[in-house]
């Protein structure tokens, strides 16, 4: 009798934890334009982790890292200049040694506006990578993206922006900015 009760209890517990695990699992990978989701590769910092993607299609080898940064002081002015992109776009997560190759440009993601900028990365393997940083704002919050790849920076930027404009990513960005 007791043994049966114990088995039943364990079965219930396993069932509950299974449901919990399912609910806690990350959102399913977005299958769009050759991008597949990979694990967030950076150590914990002041902002919650975001999502990381690797391109297997035309932009093979390019990686994209995106996350919301809630709590940004320039509520009215938004992402005002290129220095802001240098500071907030998470390029420093890939490598603290980076240099902008040109002035940035205005970009938009949905209704959010901000700037994108291209960089040369000096990485630990000694190989120089092209990278782009994107920062757009919604009121007092930021949505940022950083991408790196072996291709030309302009192509990396176009591929990243196209992916970020997909409905799945726009929905996720809105949810992330809402703190979900």
């Amino acid at each position: 009798m007791r043994r049966g009760a114990a088995i039943a209890t364990m079965a219930i517990a396993l069932g509950v934890s299974g449901v919990g695990a399912y609910r806690l699992a990350p959102a399913p990978a977005v299958e769009s334009a050759g991008w597949r989701e990979v694990a967030w590769p950076f150590p914990r910092d002041g902002w919650p982790a975001g999502r990381a993607f690797r391109c297997d299609g035309a932009c093979a080898g390019t990686e994209l890292y995106v996350r919301a940064k809630r709590g940004f002081c320039n509520c009215d002015r938004g992402v005002a200049d290129d220095d802001e992109v240098d500071r907030v776009a998470d390029i420093d997560l890939i490598s603290p040694r980076f240099a902008a190759v040109a002035p940035g440009e205005e970009v938009g993601l949905g209704e959010m506006r901000g700037r994108a900028r291209r960089y040369d990365l000096d990485t630990a393997d000694g190989v120089r990578h092209a990278a782009i940083g994107i920062a757009v704002s919604r009121r007092c919050d930021l949505f940022v993206a950083a991408a790196q790849g072996r291709g030309e920076a302009g192509a990396v930027q176009r591929a990243a922006l196209a992916f970020l404009e997909t409905p799945e990513m726009k929905v996720w960005a809105t949810a992330a900015l809402d703190g979900k």
Binding site: R44, D45, G46, W47, R70, G71, C73, N74, C75, D76, R77, A80, D83, E84, D86, R87, I91, D92, P96, R97, F98, A99, A100, L177, D178, G179
Partner: protein, 482 residues
């Protein structure tokens, strides 16, 4: 009998939930929540969002100068009832000689703009007679003008300030420090060519009419022409003057804070070109904080006797820096921002020794609305409280009085959470398809005067509250019974 038990349990649960609801929500007309602190007087500050109060003795008068953030979406420029005009938030000047009856003297408009983008948040005051080349009959108020300038006004007649000088062309400003005996000012500025929004511009304001620039300063990586990661931006410095020869810089707001200890003499007289080497030259040490916490205020309390160590052969006194983080997000949308105490006696090896936060469960503060967490401390070094009591502005948890005589074990001895009023502004968070708003006190800053009065101001437009300690908190501060 058995039927009664669930009924009773249900009633208890219901009562508890009603109590919890009552604790969560502030209502207009309800009394303030207080322990060992008492309200003395109030002023509505024309329902302007308040940042920094500075209380200054001018002859036999006591004047409060209060900086304001920009306006709100609903009221970008409140009407000044004294002029009948809509005026962008700037500086409130209030006679607090009789703290029970504060008298609003003047509103000095600031930069147009809303929230952090306008107003005149920061204010410091020095007497002309204490400055090396000041007009001995003048009283000078240094304030920010929104994000674009620093200004100095002669407030010898506080109801009729006169502009003396302006340092403009900036992309941001914040919480500056001004040494009244030397005139050296550490202005938190955004120099246009620097890569950070906020760094330090050091000026000799010993003759306020003729500011002399000394140098720009910041962390390597912030200077013009640098590349790579940009270190956390400055929040504010506090100098111990030529005698102490140290400047304590706090970088960060709610993330990646840094306490930087700098040799003041090397800073002022060392090589000034902003190269990485020159920026490193005056630095004694820096202490990176957790990525979860910033450093809004870095308040030095040097050579503190610690009773617990009185019998020790070494280390009887300690150099302590109190570091206060700033909460940014409403309804606990971030890691807890709180108060930290660092022992910097061995300057090159600063170490965090203790911390303090308001217990969230004590008032269900995460559900009350607005920000919950610390923002700032009093910065007065007047003997009445210095190294004994600290007052911490804790947004919806009001002001908290800490007994810090043993900084290894800081202890809360009092608090005061003002009641909300019709003027108290809402605070909102995004929800599905819109936003949800609540109204709660947002105690933003606190300052004390030499008499021992405590001044708190509200970010959500509830105005100024003047307080005094009572009971055991008053005894802990060594004040006579009231």
């Amino acid at each position: 009998m058995f039927r009664c038990v669930p009924l009773a349990a249900g009633l208890v649960l219901f009562a508890c939930s009603i109590t919890a609801q009552a604790q969560q929500k502030q209502t207009i007309g309800a009394p303030p929540e207080a322990s060992n602190m008492k309200l003395v007087g109030t002023n509505d500050l024309q329902a302007r969002s308040a940042y920094q109060p500075t209380i200054h003795r001018q002859g036999d008068r006591w004047i409060a100068y209060i900086g304001h953030h920009g306006g709100t979406d609903d009221v970008p420029a409140p009407v000044n009832p004294m002029t009948g005009q809509a005026e962008p938030n700037g500086t409130s000047i209030v006679d607090v000689t009789d703290p029970a009856r504060p008298k609003y003297l003047r509103h000095l408009p600031g930069q147009e703009g809303k929230y952090e983008s306008g107003g005149a948040q920061m204010v410091r005051v020095c007497d002309g007679k204490s400055l090396p080349k000041g007009d001995p009959n003048a009283v000078y108020m240094l304030r920010t003008f929104g994000s674009e300038a620093h200004e100095i006004w002669n407030v010898a007649d506080p109801a009729n300030p006169v502009l003396v000088t302006r340092i403009g062309g900036l992309k941001d400003t914040h919480k500056s420090w001004w040494e009244c005996d030397t005139g050296i000012a550490f202005l938190v500025s955004g120099a246009p060519d620097w890569r950070t929004r906020r760094m330090t511009q050091i000026y000799d304001l010993g003759d306020p009419a003729h500011p002399q620039k000394i140098r720009d300063f910041g962390l390597p990586g912030q200077e013009p022409g640098s590349t790579g990661a940009v270190p956390t931006e400055l929040h504010g410095p506090i100098s111990t003057g030529p005698d102490g020869n140290r400047v304590f810089f706090g970088y960060g707001t709610n993330k990646g804070g840094i306490l930087q200890i700098v040799d003041r003499d090397k800073l002022l007289n060392g090589p000034k070109e902003p190269t990485p080497d020159n920026l490193r030259y005056p630095e004694i040490s820096r202490m990176p904080m957790s990525a979860f916490n910033g450093a809004h205020t870095t308040f030095p309390m040097l050579d503190m006797p610690v009773a617990e160590f009185a019998e020790d052969k070494d280390g009887k006194t300690r150099d302590i820096v109190m570091i206060v983080d700033e909460a940014i997000l409403n309804e606990c949308g971030e890691a807890r921002q709180m108060v930290w105490f660092a022992d910097v006696t061995t300057e090159t090896r600063p170490m965090m020794i203790s911390s303090y936060t308001v217990p969230e469960a004590g008032g269900q503060f995460c559900q009350r609305g607005g920000r919950f967490g610390s923002h700032s401390s009093n910065e007065s070094m007047a003997p009445v409280y210095y190294k004994k009591m600290a007052f911490i502005a804790f947004f919806n948890a009001g002001v908290r009085a800490l007994d810090i005589r043993d900084p290894y074990h800081p202890k809360e001895v009092g608090y005061f959470i003002p009641a909300i009023t019709q003027a108290t502004d809402k605070r909102c968070i995004p929800v599905e398809g819109g936003e949800r708003c609540k109204v709660a006190i947002q105690t933003n800053n606190v300052e004390t005067d030499d008499r021992g009065y405590i001044y708190i101001v509200d970010r959500a437009n509830t105005g100024l509250h003047i307080l005094e300690l009572t009971g055991p908190a008053r005894a802990a501060a060594g004040l006579p019974r009231n």
